[in-house]
């Protein structure tokens, strides 16, 4: 079943069109990789899906589980299972990671009409997940991402993903800033979440990540469009030849 359908999407930022008619379909259980040169609009796409203000959709549509995603408030999208692991996770001083996780999780549960998770259950779950991601407990007592290294910030994104159990995970350059070991740990974390009901969209510049998270499809984005789609091998091809052949597409 189609989880995400982006149809002929046109998006403007400050009067400038960034996405010029982008189409992409992601089915349940699939892993999609999006690659493409800097500035091609990968993050823009992820922001529009997540509902970040400041983007004007001038044409096209986005369906999520058959529903009009663009009609939903961003927090509603989150509660329905859209998760974006940010390329640049922000810092929130004075708000401990633990408090943030609990507040966010309960907000999502409340929006879905579920009860709050009991504190012991919550703690148990956080402990399990953070352990598997090699995140020390005292990091959770610090302000959200405050003073975290680049790699720690990215792992914190995966931690949240694991905790919230979204149905659509968009990972925007989760591999940037990660050393080899951290990359493997984070990728393992992502793979552990792979399920027949859950889909992943992995944005990356490097084929290396795709050795760990093996995609079903690879899409090449250039200048605000998907210009080529293929299987896993496409990533290897790109690594060889670069994006030059798609620049004029």
């Amino acid at each position: 079943m189609a989880l995400l359908e982006v149809k002929d999407l046109k998006v403007r930022v400050e009067e400038r069109e960034i996405l010029h008619g982008l189409t992409l379909t992601v089915n349940e259980g699939e892993i999609h990789a999006i690659m493409g040169p800097n500035g091609s609009g990968k993050s823009t796409l992820s922001h529009v899906i997540a509902g970040k203000p400041g983007y004007e959709v001038t044409d096209g549509q986005i369906l999520f589980m058959g529903e009009d995603l663009l009609e939903m408030a961003p927090e509603e999208r989150a509660a329905k299972g859209v998760f974006l692991a940010f390329q640049y996770p922000v810092e929130i001083p004075g708000v401990t990671t633990m408090n943030f996780l609990r507040t966010a999780l309960n907000a999502q549960r409340k929006a879905r009409g579920e009860t709050e998770l009991m504190v012991p259950d919550f703690l148990k779950k956080v402990r399990e997940v953070s352990k598997s991601l090699n995140i020390p407990q005292d990091m959770l007592k610090r302000g959200v991402n405050v003073g975290f290294s680049g790699g720690e910030k990215k792992r914190n994104e995966v931690l949240q993903m694991a905790l919230f159990e979204p149905s659509l995970c968009i990972l925007d350059e989760m591999d940037s800033g990660l050393d080899i070991d951290a990359l493997r740990i984070a990728a393992d974390g992502v793979n552990a979440l792979h399920s027949p009901k859950r889909a992943m969209v992995v944005i990356t510049h490097y084929q290396r990540l795709l050795n760990y998270i093996v995609p079903d499809f690879v899409h090449v984005m250039s200048k605000g469009r998907v210009v080529k789609s293929g299987a896993k091998d496409l990533a290897l091809e790109l690594e060889e030849s670069g994006y030059a052949q798609y620049e004029d597409a």
Binding site: A50, G51, K52, P53, G54, A73, P74, E75, A78, A79, F83, L84, F86, P89, V90, E91, I92, P93, G94, V95, F100, T103, A104, L105, A107, Q108, A111, G143, Q160, F164
Partner: protein, 498 residues
Amino acid sequence: MPAVQETVERVKRIDVDQYRYGFETLIESDKAPKGLSEETVKFISEKKNEPAWMLQWRLEAYRRWLTMTEPTWARVDYPKIDFQDLYYYAAPKPKKTVSSLDEIDPEILKTYEKLGIPLREVAMLEGVEPKPGEEDPARRKIAVDAVFDSVSVATTFKAELKKAGVIFMPISEAIREHPELVQKYLGSVVPTSDNFYATLNSAVFSDGSFVYVPPGVRCPMELSTYFRINERNTGQFERTLIIADKGSYVSYLEGCTAPQRDENQLHAAVVELVAHDDAEIKYSTVQNWYPGNSEGKGGIYNFVTKRGDCRGDRSKISWTQVETGSAITWKYPSCILRGDNSSGEFYSIAISNGFQQVDSGTKMIHLGKNTSSRIISKGIAAGKSQNTYRGLVTAHRKATGARNFTACDSLLIGDKCGAHTVPYIEAKNSSATFEHEATTSKISEDVLFYCIQRGLSQEEAVGLVVNGFVKDVLQQLPMEFAVEAQKLISISLEGSVG
């Protein structure tokens, strides 16, 4: 259930209505004639059965006040107050004097219930026996001296405090029962001639709390007073006097709410603290008065004089305040560091939204040797509000080794509000070390969106980010107040972002 836990439970139940404390209690009241004159002052004094010296004191203040003019230096703007158009005294009409809570007007009790004050809590009244090995729960208890309008109607915990030798009672009672203490200390920190509003208060103060902690005594519980303004057009003039004798310790909590109404209400309280050698006073406030409606109409005018005198060596006074309400706030809790090695602290969260105007800060006056002070101020401005931090740090010629650290951070939400920092620093000797840091930032859209992407609504996101911003100050509050304060902070920022 232990009292503290119950307080927390109740506070948790505070639902997030716009201004949920906007209700009015229907009680007949006993009013002074409108306007201010020697007759009004005499009426108040008579109502309180005051001794002659007290009336004399009030009259002197009144005559002094007649010669004074309203200060205009603060960054606040409001229509001129007609002091002859106000009532200066209102008391709930007691059916008879009360000796137990059961005899109190059920209307009043209901009001407290709505406010979440556990006045009727049996455990509180009877005291909870500690289980062996457990921390003495008395340490965590809160005594409530409830000020309803201008008269204190109920005082709990009296017996236990008495056992410790702590005097905690309405100041009107203290005037009659402990005249020697009141005469010695009243006006000794904030003299009757101090400033326009303090002088006015001295003439017409209605009631307030009196605390005396004897030498070496650690007050066995947090003392707290809940103020409530409930009488249309009645100026409120609370007077609080707290004395910590040598080597004693006391923590005092003050929290305020007021019913929603259309007319402006004047509040001009005076709080005086005296700490003798090695004594410590911690004074915490959560202020949530009606800030006015969405057009900026109504709301409380809050002109307060709060001052602590670190009179003894090694004494310490710490002010913590969370200011969320009032249409206008004019308030500078200060410390006079008179004793050698004494220290003063000021931790403040001042939130303004809508059309609120806040001009608040502190004064640290270093007089003794090796005195130190610390100022942490967090100002949050939203809506069309103006938020000013005004601080003064001075070191006297003889105050060698004086140290101050000041950090003032302002957070702006939206672009129609303003934050201003006005620090005055004056060192009259070269050995003083004063440090000052100030930042102003706008709440980050990226941070808000990050929170929203994780499922929080815009308002929840703002609440969370702001609570993070003020964390250093929240941590200074007693736990049961911190919970309440957190909620208030979120409530008071509702509608601050479009």
